[in-house]
Every structure is written in C-alpha cells, then in structure tokens.
C-alpha cells in the first residue's frame, strides 16, 4: 500500500519492525492522518510520519497501518 499525505489511517496492529517501541502499543486502534509519507523512494520499508488523534505525531513502520479511505 502506498500512503499519501492526508490519507486517513488506522494503526491496526503492532509492527514486527525493530523500529516499533513498547510505548507504541498504546497507539493500536488509533486513527489519524499520514503527514509525511515515505519521501525518498516510495519504499514500503520506510517509516512514515503519522498524526494520531490524541496521541501525537510519530514515525511508524507501514505494516501496522491501514488506510481508512477518505483524504483530507
């Protein structure tokens, strides 16, 4: 899945990526927006910046995210 800036997303599971830290488990189930997609090479492995409602902005692996549909 290629994420674009403004995509509405959900953190639907914990990532298996080693960039996933324990405190990020609190984000599972949260909704938010993609703020800065993988700006370098549309790399599925790149971390993307997401703003999560009530949880702040964080850079997360893509395998824990799914798109909810609408764009802003």
């Amino acid at each position: 899945m290629t994420f674009q800036r403004g995509d509405k997303i959900e953190v639907f599971k914990a990532s298996m990526d080693d960039a996933w830290e324990d405190y990020m488990n609190d984000f599972i189930g949260c909704h938010g927006f993609i703020v800065d997609p993988d700006t370098s090479v549309n790399d599925p492995d790149a971390l993307v910046e997401v703003s999560l409602e009530g949880k702040g902005t964080h850079r997360l692996p893509q395998d824990c995210l799914r798109r909810l549909g609408d764009q802003v």
Binding site: R5, D18, E21, A46, L47, S51
Partner: protein, 721 residues
C-alpha cells in the same frame, strides 16, 4: 478504572465520600471536602507546590484518635492513590498537563498534540489574533526555537489535525507563525528568555541543523555550556544548504541562529567531527554528554549505466548545497531531475532560476504518487518545469564528458506478486530519450556515518540511522543522545526540532541522574488565553486569505521569497477563525443534552466527531435555541457559556455568539424571566399546572399569587372583583 487519570480517580472517590451515601461523620466529610477542593485545583492546572503536602496533612487527620473506621479507611485509599501515582500528581502541578486527557481543562488541543515539537498552538493563535505577536513568539519558543523558519517551511502536521478543517479549511497556522515572528523581529520584540544560571556542565552537539540547534537552545536555557561542532561553514544544516532561498531566506535562519548564539551557544564552523576534532579531545575538555545531530546528507545513486562516467551527473543535495554556498552558475541548458520528492522539485526550480532553458522532472510513478508537496508541484509546473511521469531512467548517454540524453523506459503501475502495492514496471518497447546535458539525481538521502566511529557504543538501525529510544533520544551508549535526520532518516524540520528538544530534556535528566521517561512526553499547555467574541455568521464565513505570490518572471529568474506573506488584517482575522480546541474538548455532551434531555436539538456541531464528522453551522442554533443554559451548565470546560449583556441573554461557544435573545421581565413584579422562547418552552412543559390562557408575562410567584386569589374567589372565600 485503570485507565482513568489518578487525579480524576481521586476526585470521583472524594465526590462519593461527601455524597448522600458517603461518610457519616462530619469531620471526615469536612476533610474530604477540603481535599476535593485541592484535588480539583490540581486537575484544573491551578495548583501550586504546596497542594500535595496540604492534601497529605489532611489525609493524616483522617487517622486522628476517635475517627470512625470508615473515615480512616477512606484516608488510606486516598494516601494509596497519592503514593502510587505521585509522579502523575506532580506532573499535573508542574506541567499543567493531564496525559490521559481525563482532566479536561489540561488536555492539549489536537493541533498541539499533532505538532512533533508540541507547540501550544491555540494559545499563540489567540495572541496573534489580539495583535500580541511578541507574546505569541514567546509561547512558540517554549517548544520550538525556530518559529520564523518553521513559519515558512514546516510540513504543518498541526493543520492536518486542525478541527476547523472538518468545517471548511484548516487554519493557516504556519503562515501566521511566520507573520508573528517577522513582526516581532521587526519590532525588536523577539527576545530570548532568561537562561538559568550556569551549572558548570558542558554538552557537545554534533551538527548545527534544526535538531542540533533545538537541543543546544534548550540546554543553554537550562544553564549548560553548549558547543556545536559543524562541518559546514554556515549554520542550519539542511535548512541552509538543502532548502532553496526562495522558500527560506538565509537571513531568517541567520537571525534565529544568532538568537541561539546569544544564549552562549558556541558554534564551531568548518569543523568535521572525528577529523578536525575528536571525541577524546572533547572528553578531555570536560564535555559530559553528546547529542549527534548530523543529518542525512549522503545521496543515493541512480545505479544506471553512465552515471559514474559523466561529471554532469550531479546529486541534488550537492547541487543545492553548492548553490546555497554561492555557486550560481547555470548547470546546463537541458536539465533532467530524477525523483519525485521535494528535493527533486527544489533542484528543478533552482536549475530554472539559474538559467536552464528546459527542466524536466523524470519520475517513475504518477503525479498523484509524488511525495512532494502538492503546492510545490503546482508552483513548479507554473514556472514551466516539465514532468515525465511513469519514466524509469536506464542509462546516461553522451560522448567524452558531455551528456546528450537520459535514456528512459516508459513504465506502468502493477501490483507485484504477493503484494497489493503498485510498483512501476517497464513496458516492453517503451524506450525513449530525454534530451539532457545535466542529470540531477534526487532519489533520497541517507546518514553519512563517517567520523562517528568514536561513538563505539551506539547502535545503527538496518535503515542506516542511529538507534534511539524515542522517548529520550538515548542511544545505547550512556551519555550519547541523537536527534534529527540522523535518527529518522530524511524527515521533517519540525520532527528534528521536537527530537532536539526531547534530547535536551533527556541529557538534563541523564546529567542529574533522573530516570528517562517510557514514552515521549505529552505536550504542555502553557496558559489559556481569553476567547475572541464574534457572531456565528462571522465565524462561519471568514475565509482563509490567499497567499500573495511573487510574479512569475521573478520566480523564474531570482531567489527572492516566492510567498510574500499575508496582510496584517488578514492575519488577525485568520487567527480568530480558530475554534479554540484548547477549551472545547468536543465531548459532545452539549449536543446530547440539548437534543436528548431538552428535546430541542439546536446545536448543529457535526465537527465534534473525528471519524464521522457531519455538517456544522453555528448560525442555525439561533433558530431553535431557547437560551435555557442546559448545555452551558453541563460543559466541564466552560467552553459553552450563558451570559447577559445589554438586556440580552447570550449563548457563546468559545467566544462565538450562537444565540442572543432579549431578556423578559415579570409584568407584575419586574423579576427577570429569561427569553420569550424560554418562557414559552417552560409554559409548554407546565401547561397542566398553569393557566393555558395566561397571556401576560408573569414570574412563578406572581402566577401562583394570581392563581391563589382566583381560586379563593371561585370558592367564595373572597369576594369577586
């Protein structure tokens, strides 16, 4: 109950204790009432340092001789809450922040939460709306030392989460910040806060980019002696050598860096860490902690035939750096930039300004998939830059040292086996050439770890970045911290600034022996500014201003700033468009009460819901609202208020006047009755008890008196008049 904020939990427990089913003894109830007052002040962010000791002293009173066991037990429970969650109570008092958002008045707004640096956005917008630009900058710099820079080039995650965007368009937070910074600087009102006295400890920051500058600024404010080691001859890192001057003028960076230097931060330019200065030397000088903020300045190569053979195959970051440092020679007549991110757009627009006749951006995916900002892409197209989408470069063709063309092949997007992600796949027979005498590669950067060998204990991630615990930006080596692109890979300026601030906090904790936090700290609210009154019509119809732009001819030839900034009147109006989500938490209780309890349904506030926003119109409230005040009475944060002004009863939501109705008075005794709509509503509800034929406006007392007289007369007790 485990997820409830312990302060809130204490308040709920105390409320039970003083309720009808609570403590029977008057002394226990008195103590609990006193503790409740103190706990509520902690929850509201108005408590001081004496509050916790005062609560503990009151709890001790619960154990006085002769106190009933029930009161003693309540005291033990309260003491348990204080002991188990002392840090949370202290956090509420010191930072005026409730991490779980249960203490509503302290919950940060969505925009503040979204900002990687945690800037208190509603507060500074309110200050800008009032014309208090210098105060706004002071609020911003508590969390971000580079407001002017960010006002021009921030990727603005705050605007993405802006609640106003659920109604029409997000507030132009970024540009308002730039205006305030420029105005404050111009009025000589942009000043540094007073740092704490020097503590005699020294910290070294490697890299003078946004992450390093942010770390240095906050450390300097805490009283540390800070030295920045910078390989370039200029400050700012990628701000200065990666972002072109037409987006971010050099003076803006220089002025804000000078402010940081004024705090005593010593920046050593042209000094490469590991070469010109070593860690051993710095250790010997007495530096006790390090923050690595070296950025991601190394470019990925195209890995295509001919790339190494022609000197005119240039990396975009090198090209932009050379231009930033003064090389303004035209790179060539026909420039092809490979890539689809902001760096590619910057390289293309810079080439055009330097005199290239034809500039083409070759990108292997579609326009919709370009990672570059939409506005940047549009401005590039306006300036005459051509785009070749679904184009995969295969070779660079030429003779001797001269490039003739970039050989490409047309691609189509297809899902690869086992993946749902569309990838560009070459089309057979789709070969074509793009005429070129310069090829600029802009397909991404990575961290250059040369010179970092001295940090033997740090771990590098498989992405080539420094591995840190993000809560404190700590590396695996004690005393070594990291921030910015060196940690995240090429990312955003505001992320680097936020990371630098976290690193400064973590270094301070490290040097004082305080344990590091488990998760990044929740942004801190600094204060609540008064709301700005305006009519519902005005609030709904203010339009965000259009950004005036430099004319096209200058955009093609000069490095003058393209975005010229808003006019002052537009800035004040735009700032006032803010919904003040620092006050209204969008709990929706007001809507529920108006609709379900009162049966009126006057509040059309569809924006309250994040996932399923509906239509919002502040103006329609006046059509059916009776100014009963039920919504305001149940608003925990006083976002909704009922007041009386000039003989009218008004309902206001964060300053927006939703309704205003004339107050009626009892025709008999002159007592205040409320609005006509309200009286009619009450009369409808009490029709069975009051005379339906009553047309005069009378208060309850006068009605009762009148009814009593009438009843007595009817029964013959009184003579009929």
């Amino acid at each position: 109950m485990d997820k409830i904020c312990p302060v809130r939990q204490t308040i709920l427990f105390l409320t039970q204790l003083i309720g009808p089913q609570g403590l029977p003894d008057p002394k226990g109830r008195r103590i609990c009432e006193q503790i409740l007052v103190l706990a509520e002040e902690i929850a509201e962010g108005t408590a001081g340092e004496a509050h916790l000791p005062a609560i503990e002293a009151l709890v001790k009173e619960c154990n006085d001789a002769g106190t009933p066991e029930q009161t003693r037990q309540a005291g033990r429970i309260i003491q348990g809450l204080l002991t188990d969650h002392r840090e949370v109570f202290v956090n509420h008092i010191q930072t005026r922040n409730c991490p779980t958002h249960d203490c509503g008045k302290l919950a940060p707004s969505p925009c503040q939460m979204a900002c990687p640096a945690g800037i208190d956005i509603p507060t500074y917008l309110a200050l800008i709306a009032q014309g208090k630009d210098a105060e706004a900058i002071e609020v911003i710099r508590r969390d971000n030392p580079l407001p002017w820079v960010c006002g021009l080039i921030c990727t603005r995650p705050c605007e993405m989460m802006c609640v106003r965007a659920r109604i029409d368009k997000a507030i132009s937070i970024k540009f308002l910040k730039a205006f305030a910074a420029e105005r404050a600087m111009s009025e000589r009102a942009y000043t540094n806060p007073t740092p704490q006295p020097a503590n005699g400890k020294k910290v070294c920051v490697v890299g003078a980019g946004p992450g390093g500058l942010s770390c240095a600024y906050y450390l300097a404010l805490m009283g540390y002696g800070v030295r920045i080691i910078e390989a370039l001859p200029v400050p700012g890192g990628m701000l200065m050598v990666g972002i072109p001057r037409y987006r971010l003028p050099g003076e803006v960076i220089n002025r804000e860096v000078a402010m940081i230097e004024d705090l005593g931060v010593d920046i050593r330019y042209n000094t490469r860490f590991g070469k010109d200065v070593t860690k051993d030397e710095l250790d010997r000088e007495g530096f006790e902690a390090y923050c690595i903020a070296i950025g991601a300045h190394k470019a990925w190569t195209l890995s295509i035939e001919g790339e190494k053979e022609f000197p005119k195959v240039i990396e975009a970051v090198r090209f932009l750096r050379d231009v930033a440092l003064g090389d303004h020679h035209c790179p060539g007549k026909n420039v092809v930039v490979v890539g689809g991110g902001n760096v590619a757009i910057d390289a293309a627009r810079t080439s055009l300004r330097l005199g290239a006749e034809r500039v083409t951006i070759a990108y292997r995916r579609t326009r919709a998939q370009m990672p570059a900002d939409v506005e940047e892409v549009e401005q590039a197209a306006e300036a005459g830059i051509e785009f070749s989408f679904l184009t995969i470069p295969t070779a660079i063709k030429g003779e001797g040292h001269n490039i003739h063309a970039l050989a490409c092949i047309k691609a189509e997007l297809k899902a690869k086996k086992g993946a749902n992600r569309l990838a560009p796949v070459p089309i057979e027979g789709g070969e074509f050439d793009i005429r070129a005498d310069v090829v600029i590669s802009a397909i991404g950067q990575y961290v250059d770890n040369e010179g970092m060998e001295a940090f033997t204990g740090i771990d590098w991630s498989r992405r080539g970045t420094i591995d840190v615990n993000h809560a404190g930006m700590e590396t695996a080596q004690p005393g070594v911290f990291a921030a910015g692109d060196a940690v995240s890979g090429p990312a955003t300026v505001i992320e680097a600034i936020g990371g630098g601030k976290r690193a400064a906090d973590a270094i301070d904790r490290y040097l004082r022996g305080i344990p590091q936090p488990r998760a990044p700290r929740t942004p801190v609210r600094h204060k609540t500014e008064p709301v700005i009154e305006m009519t519902a019509h005005e609030k709904m119809t203010i339009k965000p201003p259009e950004m005036p732009m430099l004319n096209l001819y200058r955009r093609r030839t000069t490095f003058q700033q393209v975005e010229l900034g808003y006019e002052e009147a537009d800035v004040r109006r735009e700032a006032a468009r803010c919904l003040r989500c620092d006050i209204c938490r969008r709990c929706g209780k007001c809507v529920d009460i108006c609709r379900d309890k009162m049966g009126i349904n006057a509040l059309k506030l569809g924006y309250l819901d994040f996932d399923e926003s509906g239509p919002t119109d502040f103006r329609v409230t006046a059509e059916s609202c009776i100014t009963c005040g039920a919504c305001a009475a149940n608003c925990e944060n006083n976002a909704l208020k009922i007041d009386e002004k000039d003989g009218r009863r008004r309902l206001l939501l964060c300053g927006t006047i939703l309704n205003s109705q004339t107050i009626q008075y009892c025709e008999s005794c002159g007592a205040k009755l409320g609005s006509e709509a309200y009286i009619r509503f009450i009369a409808g509800k009490t029709r069975s008890m009051t005379q339906a034929t009553e047309t005069r406006l009378l208060c309850n007392n006068c009605l009762r008196r009148k009814a009593a007289v009438s009843n007595a007369a009817n029964s013959g007790a009184l003579p009929m008049r």
